[in-house]
Symmetry: none
Subunit: 142 residues, 2 copies
DNA sequence: TAAACAAAGGTCAAACAAAGTCAATGGTGG
DNA sequence: CCACCATTGACTTTGTTTGACCTTTGTTTA
């Protein structure tokens, strides 16, 4: 059961995240690769297979001097966002049922609500959700 | 975070602006460069990458004796103009022209883009604007 | 007053410093 | 034995730092 390199890197990153204050860490790809004595793209591979949205992670990065990779674990705050989303989703559903919007409109609105604010800090994502509801209310004159 | 020289200069300038009465400051390029012990064009680089219109800033300058660089942060009135003329609106138009979206969809998307983020700080409203573009690109598979 | 000088800021390209991509290859568990 | 995950490395893209040279503006001097 000798775990693969990728598995060990995965574990390592997860420990770092667990130890972090806010479920978020920043690493240097090349440095981590050095730690595990492998090529940098191995790290990219790990991120791409084990730290995806599906697994509950979000990664951002920057190239060039002082580049980094930031890995964020969706935490309870984020779940709050999703919860909040459900409120919004319910509202969209309502608009649809009342035939104020089409299925296509409902779909794009949902998608935008979920994705447009992704690069914002969590607390602003919450505000944004409210903003979506308010804006929709206004637009369709409840 | 805020590791590179450029990042630190950016932070410094932002603090100065935050402390200013009117969201506007004047600096001397050479002096600031001296403060950070770097070459003056480094400051120019920072201004050119982090204090552009896209980021919600406007810069003017003057050469020669008593030269200066003035950096102004857009206020909310200006922001409306900025958003209204944004890349996003052009993109929505494009989607419509290519018949990927209907007039109704274009309208609600525009409305959401302008209003959903209203309670956010200006810099995040701009980020949100970009988020809308990214999300739309993804949804309609560019 | 025109010419020279000094004092700013601007431009641009080269060198450097990351991270990303992709396709070929390797290895392993079922 | 073969499908599929893992590993590697050459190449690409993006971002930063530096310096040599340019332009504009204000000041001094012949």
């Amino acid at each position: 059961m000798a775990r693969s390199l990728a598995d060990r890197i995965e574990q390592y990153i997860k420990v770092l995240i667990a130890r972090s204050e806010n479920g978020q860490i920043e690493i240097q790809r090349a440095e981590l690769a050095e730690t595990f004595d492998c090529v940098p793209s191995q790290v990219t591979y790990v991120l791409g297979t084990r730290f995806t949205q599906r697994e509950g992670y979000y990664t951002e990065s920057r190239r060039g001097g002082c580049g980094y990779v930031r890995i964020t674990e969706y935490n309870s705050e984020y779940l709050a966002v999703l919860l909040d989303n459900s409120e919004l989703f319910r509202f969209i559903r309502e608009l649809y049922d009342k035939q104020k919007i089409s299925e296509g409109e409902a779909e794009i609105i949902r998608f935008l609500a979920l994705n447009a604010g992704k690069s914002l800090p969590i607390e602003y994502q919450l505000k944004l959700n409210e903003g979506f509801i308010k804006a929709l209310e206004q637009f369709y004159e409840k």
